[in-house]
Amino acid sequence: MAGVFEQLNETILPTIFEALSGAGIADYADVYRETVTVDTGGGVKRTWAVEYADIPVVFEPLQVKRAFNAADKLLTVQQYEITMPQTYDDERISINPTTDYISVQARGNEPAKKFRILTAGDQNGVHWRLICERENVE
């Protein structure tokens, strides 16, 4: 079984995702990862840069949306599940929910979309099922 998963992970799924993206059924996304710098007073500054680029993904909304008071204003969040291959372009994609976020690339009339990662579900070492949130968007 391990051999099947390995084939799915490293060969089959990347090919499928690429084909889906090429057919316009899946999107492309970039995985951003943070770098932390500490200033002379112990203040922490986070900056982000692309760690993995042009990864084919699919995303769908979940039945969870909520509004609450945060930072002295009203915040609404919508949860999504993002599916993406764990291996793409012969590179294993690692995901750390505390340091990474997903940016689905703009296409046509659709702008780029930022997805904040809550959890990273590992589906048999074959693909990622990421539970994410988007804030204050239509």
Partner: protein, 144 residues
């Protein structure tokens, strides 16, 4: 809010809504709550400690109303620029204090005392995958 505190609210906003503050707090200046689409960082201010009104003898004649106000910077870890959110929040807080100074212009009343009392206790608020930093100070305003 009393009629006087309403005048103070307007006067404080006028003092805060200047380029020295808004060039740092690019999201804007708001009383109590920011609008949903406000971008970080922004300034929130509101009255936190209504004080007892002081009266003169004889028929009670209102002579002084003193209130405590909170002015704070709300800064996200993702706020643009090279400064840490703590440093940026402190810079905005300082700019607010400088902008207010020690005077307020009120119509029909006189501000006798306008000065910072103390810093507010700083705190961080988690918002999904990041922290929001709140830094500011308390301002005592006495109006005749």
């Amino acid at each position: 809010m009393s009629a006087i505190s309403e005048k103070v609210r307007v006067a404080l906003y006028t003092k805060l809504n200047v380029s020295g503050v808004t060039s740092l707090a690019t999201g804007g200046i708001f009383e109590s709550k920011a609008p949903d689409n406000a971008s970080f960082p922004y300034v929130i201010f509101f009255r936190i400690g209504p004080g007892p009104v002081e009266y003169a003898f004889g028929p009670p004649t209102k002579v002084l109303e003193t209130d405590l106000w909170l002015i704070k910077a709300v800064v996200s870890e993702e706020s643009a620029g090279s400064k840490s959110p703590q440093a940026l929040a402190e810079e905005i807080s300082q700019a607010c204090e400088t902008a207010i100074g020690n005077t307020l212009t009120l119509v029909g009343n006189t501000a006798r005392w306008v000065a910072r009392v103390a810093d507010m206790p700083p705190y961080e608020e988690q918002q999904n995958d990041r922290f929001i930093y709140h830094r500011g100070f308390n301002l005592r305003v006495s109006v005749e």
